[in-house]
């Protein structure tokens, strides 16, 4: 069964002059038990989609369902079954860590004890601070508390809106290990992130830009459908090397990628000979290469 169905969803927000189209017709499904990633920059429409699926706002057009329930007709039922961690910290800052957790357990008619096993790994890290007010916590600890509160009623489906934004590389890694363990519990997870390297940790991802889905696939599938030749190039002077490759007719794009340049050849490229004064090797694309290539095609 599909845990989430999204059928031609559109949403725009009024501006002083005209309107901004946040979602321009999205259509895809998320399977039960999937760890599904929405990958895209700020302004892509990720948060808007989360708000529609968690029944906080209405779409202008289209239909959507969560756990088989319609987001308009069955909104009260959906709210009991989902956990939602918004991008902006939204717990009660004047309640303590412990009070927040008890509060969320109580409104969902359960107790902290009943589902403690789900949150133990996260909650143990903030337990020493359980008498602190939530507003006094640092960013990373707020995030752990918010996830604990979103999980305490054992939701069937979990929505996490940019849980790792602004978080350091080590904490991000730990956070993803946690998501994998929740997935093993059978919870469907939809998670958004602007960090492309996190895409490879999902079962499937949707690459989103300007309110549209550019591609949906497994991380492996994305890489396999890339369809262009890609080289990692190292030259003596990177800036100069970059400019040189950009001028070559066979080169579609050249851009820095960590310590090397990535050089993408056109699909219909004339025969290409790599200059001999650079170190170059043909490589498989990263998800970020896929995203850049899709952005280029959609422009």
């Amino acid at each position: 069964m599909q845990a989430i169905r999204i059928i031609d969803i559109e949403k725009s927000y009024p501006l002083k002059k005209g309107k901004t189209e946040a979602l321009k017709g999205l259509r895809f499904d998320v399977e039960e038990g999937e760890l599904f990633g929405l990958i895209g920059p700020d302004g892509a429409g990720k948060s808007t989609l989360f708000r529609i699926l968690t029944t906080l706002i209405l779409a202008d057009k289209g239909e959507a369902s969560v756990n088989g329930l319609d987001v308009v007709k069955d909104f009260m039922k959906i709210r009991r079954q989902v956990g939602y961690m918004p991008g902006k910290f939204s717990l009660y800052t004047d309640l303590t860590v412990e009070e927040n957790l008890n509060f969320f357990a109580t409104i969902f008619n359960t107790t902290v004890k009943e589902n403690y096993h789900l949150i133990r790994n996260i909650y143990e890290q903030i337990e020493p601070f359980k008498h602190f007010r939530a507003g006094k916590l640092s960013g990373g600890m707020k995030q752990k508390l918010a996830l604990s509160c979103a999980l305490i009623h054992r939701p069937k489906t979990l929505f996490l809106d940019e849980p790792t934004t602004g978080v350091d590389a080590l904490s991000r890694k730990e956070f993803w290990e946690l998501l994998r363990s929740l997935r093993a519990e059978g919870i469907t997870i939809m998670v958004s992130t602007p960090y492309m390297d996190e895409a490879s940790l999902c079962d499937r991802v949707a690459l989103i830009q300007s309110g549209k889905v550019m591609q949906i696939d497994t991380p492996e599938g994305l890489r396999n459908t890339y369809g262009k030749r890609l080289f990692a190039v190292k030259g003596p002077d990177m800036l100069h090397t970059l400019q040189r490759f950009r001028k070559m007719p066979a080169v579609e794009q050249a851009y820095p990628f960590g310590e090397v340049l990535h050089v993408v050849l056109r699909k219909d490229a004339p025969p290409f000979r790599m200059p001999e004064d650079v170190e170059a090797s043909e490589i498989a694309p990263d998800i970020e290469d896929c995203f850049i290539s899709l952005m280029h095609e959609h422009e």
Partner: protein, 247 residues
Amino acid sequence: MNEYVITAENLTKSFGDFTAVDRISFEVRRGEIFGFLGANGAGKTTAMRMFCGLILPSSGKASIGGFDVYRETEAIKRNIGYMSQRFSLYDDLTVQENINFYAGIYGMSRKAIREKSAPLLKQLGLEAERNALVGSLPLGWKQKLSFSVAIFHEPKIVFLDEPTGGVDPITRREFWQMIYEASDRDITVFVTTHYMDEAEYCHRVSVMVDGRIEALDTPGGLKKSHGAASMNEVFLQLARKAKRKGD
């Protein structure tokens, strides 16, 4: 050329019995792109605030652009630029109004602002948007404008605090192109980021752990000394040593 524009010697900041920044020492050269990394809670923000003249150190020495961090904080503020993802431009002012506002704060004359605005807008491709509200611009444009505004008064040093968070991968790279151009004009760039590929773009990188600078070298040097294939690996190795769970 080894002209230092940032020097720190045993610089320390304590809050009560908590030592946020613990005797850090380093120098940054003129025109250098210096990556200032560390886990959340390692002390980066506190250190940055001392360098920007916003808080006074507890002990140690530091000078920023030749000005002392204890006695000359106002001179420091006039001689640096600052940009972060969180604090940048005013959405309800136009592009030109934002430029006027920031340049005015830094004491530039109206004439100078006028003369420099036109080429800047042209270079950014924002001539048609001069009188548009900044809030109506796409995020990528805003970030680039924000950086240009931060160096509009030609500061000696610009501090960038996670400048590229949430930006698409193409814009992120265009942004780094601008950083390189600023560095070419001898503006020193002091930057924090959570994108480890961006750490590779820096001339030198320091990694803070528990308030101390645990490693400092070129990206290549750090990878070599840590037997790591990427800066991400270097970072993970160092950050795992942290005892304090400040984040």
